[in-house]
């Protein structure tokens, strides 16, 4: 089968194998199911890293394959987290409130319970009424649908407006940054209905699962994250390997040609934008229960820029590149910012990595862009003997996001 799905995506089986091995390894070394070599907090870090790899794949699909440098996909990630966080917070507070009211002499009415939950959740912002956006928070099914629907709709409306006006290149990037900034500023307000800068907290405690220790829960979330990442990898491989992949790569390199072939470029961009927004939201919905807290700072514009940096460092236009970039950068970042990296004393100045890590990251981004445009994923090409075409420095298409000579394979 020369044209089978796996032949077209040689990295897929390798990736799935490594992911399974990794998940199994962590499980066997965890405190809950194995030797206890890996601490629960590190299991959570690893689970979160898998979610970041997931959103990086979405970024690669929208930027690396379709050429839309969206600097707003982390906002969709955050919105996904908020959506699941609303249910987690509501359901858990409900259990606490019902338990405490059960001891009162007169049984509490439904509205009393609702008011009590409201004042518990919104007390920090000086309110006790449920805003309209919480109307589905009592139902897990509905709120899970919101995880997909809300970011999907935001992406649909924003994308429709932007692509229809044929905004491309750096202007589109600026627009997506503006959208992200507006969203995070809105959420910072106390009356946005999502607890302002306090955000949603206590998300690591699943309602009704108080008996299950965090060590076990963290492993469950690791499995769920690994499964979601595997499914995303398979879905993205499917999207990019067929004719659809040809069309979106065509849009990246030469939008006008695709248009004159009779394809509705705007429709395709919108499709990919919404699809990747939903992917990002699912990643966020798995990430924030492991992080335990989400607040508007998570959606800050810089987060979406980091996302682009991960994909660039990992190597855009290849799915495993996005995974490598996200995993490598976020783990190294954890190591540096966690105070584990030894400070360097230069005598006259002490380099504290907590502060200097950002500089190092920025520098490596610049260096990768200049000298290794294929990113870390490009190392694979050395082993498989694939080289870049020699085009005397010319990119592979006239559009701003087109693949550069150094990024392409011969």
């Amino acid at each position: 089968m020369k044209n089978s799905f796996f032949m077209k995506n040689p990295s897929l089986l390798v990736f799935l194998g490594l992911l399974a091995l990794f998940t199994l390894g962590v499980t066997l070394m965890s405190e809950a199911y194995g030797s206890g070599l890996v601490s629960t907090s590190f299991v959570k870090t690893l689970g979160k890293t898998l979610c970041l790899a997931l959103v990086a794949i979405a970024m690669d699909l929208v930027w690396g394959y379709t050429g839309i440098l969206s600097l707003g996909h982390f906002a969709f990630f955050g919105v996904g987290g908020y959506m699941i966080g609303m249910w987690l917070m509501y359901a858990r507070t409900e259990i606490i409130v019902v338990n405490s009211l059960a001891s009162s002499p007169i049984p509490a009415t439904a509205s009393e319970i609702s008011d009590a939950i409201g004042s518990q959740i919104f007390g920090v912002v000086g309110s006790s009424d449920f805003p309209a956006i919480w109307m589905f928070a009592d139902s897990l099914t509905l709120q899970l649908m919101m995880v997909v629907l809300v970011p999907g709709l935001v992406a649909l409306v924003f994308g429709w407006l932007a692509f229809r006006s044929r905004v491309t290149g750096v202007y589109l990037s600026i627009l997506t940054q503006a959208m992200t900034l507006a969203l995070s500023l809105y959420l910072f307000q106390n009356d946005s209905g999502l607890r302002g800068n306090n955000g949603l907290s206590g998300l690591q405690n699943l309602p009704g699962a108080d008996d299950i220790p965090q060590s076990v829960m963290s492993i469950w979330f690791l499995w769920a994250s690994a499964l979601a990442l595997a499914l995303t990898y398979i879905a993205t491989s499917f999207v990019v390997s067929g004719k659809f992949g040809s069309v979106i790569r065509g849009i990246r390199d030469d939008e006008a040609r695709v248009r004159f072939l009779g394809y509705s470029v705007e429709g395709y961009k919108l499709f990919v934008f919404v699809l990747t927004a939903i992917m990002a939201a699912i990643g966020g919905a798995l990430y924030y229960p492991q992080a335990g807290i989400i607040n508007p700072a998570e959606i800050a514009p810089i987060a979406s820029i980091y996302l682009a940096v991960w994909v660039a460092i990992g190597g855009r236009g290849r799915i495993y590149g996005a995974v490598i970039g996200a995993v490598a950068v976020s783990l190294v970042s954890t190591w540096f910012t966690g105070g584990q990296a030894p400070n360097i004393n230069l005598g006259f100045y002490e380099v504290k990595w907590v502060d200097w890590w950002q500089v190092l990251l920025g520098l490596s981004f610049v260096l990768v862009t200049l000298f290794a445009p294929k990113g870390i994923g490009g190392l694979v090409d050395i082993f498989t003997g694939r080289f870049s075409p020699n085009r005397k420095g010319a990119p592979l298409g006239p559009d701003a996001g087109s693949l550069r000579e150094e990024e392409a394979e011969k």
Binding site: R249, G250, P389, L396
Partner: protein, 246 residues
Amino acid sequence: MSQLLEVSGISVSFDGFKAINNLSFSIGHAEMRAIIGPNGAGKTTFMDIVTGKTKPDEGTVLWGDLSRNLIGMNEAKIARIGIGRKFQRPTVFEDQSVFDNLMIAVSNDRSPVAVLFFRPKAKDIAKVHELADTIGLTDELARKSGELSHGQKQWLEIGMLLAQDPKLLLVDEPAAGMTLGEREHTTDILKEAGKTRAVVVIEHDMEFIRRLECKVTVLHEGSVLAEGSLDHVTKNQGVIDVYLGR
């Protein structure tokens, strides 16, 4: 028989400069036509208007037996109703194989969902091979199109147009930068295509046009200066003054 494309009285100006000035043009169902004219005569702008890239200030562009007005339609829709366009520079998807380039162009449902679940059927693959044979790129099907020579890229682009099954082919300077042998091959491809559909070729090279053996339209300052056989227009004093004499 009614005309396939009927352009009447179109004008367009950019910042006061009249690129097209009350231009009228029509072409039949299986007709070959060459358009010549000095630089800035409005040849490429004319194609931009027909394909929906530029909106004219006035005039109508009517298409087919039903005389649908093309003005106001977007590029993708115009391409889908049967107008294929080749650009001046060869534009193919350089990061993709010749096979994939042709497969994108083969006429099938163009909506995102249909394309997402599209798997090439035997007839699609046969069509790609047939096209590759027509344009002489059978041996290059697996290669990335970025590796092709300039002439081969031009042929590939023509092949992509033919794959769309257009009723009208608009070809902008197909022979630019080609060797003599490549030019002859290009003429053959275009003449073959012109047997079953309308073909409009913009070209500067008189020898190339002579080999096409077709009616010629001379544009000058955005309107038609002369029309007829090549020998007829080259004897026209106006054409000699503005174009050939220089």
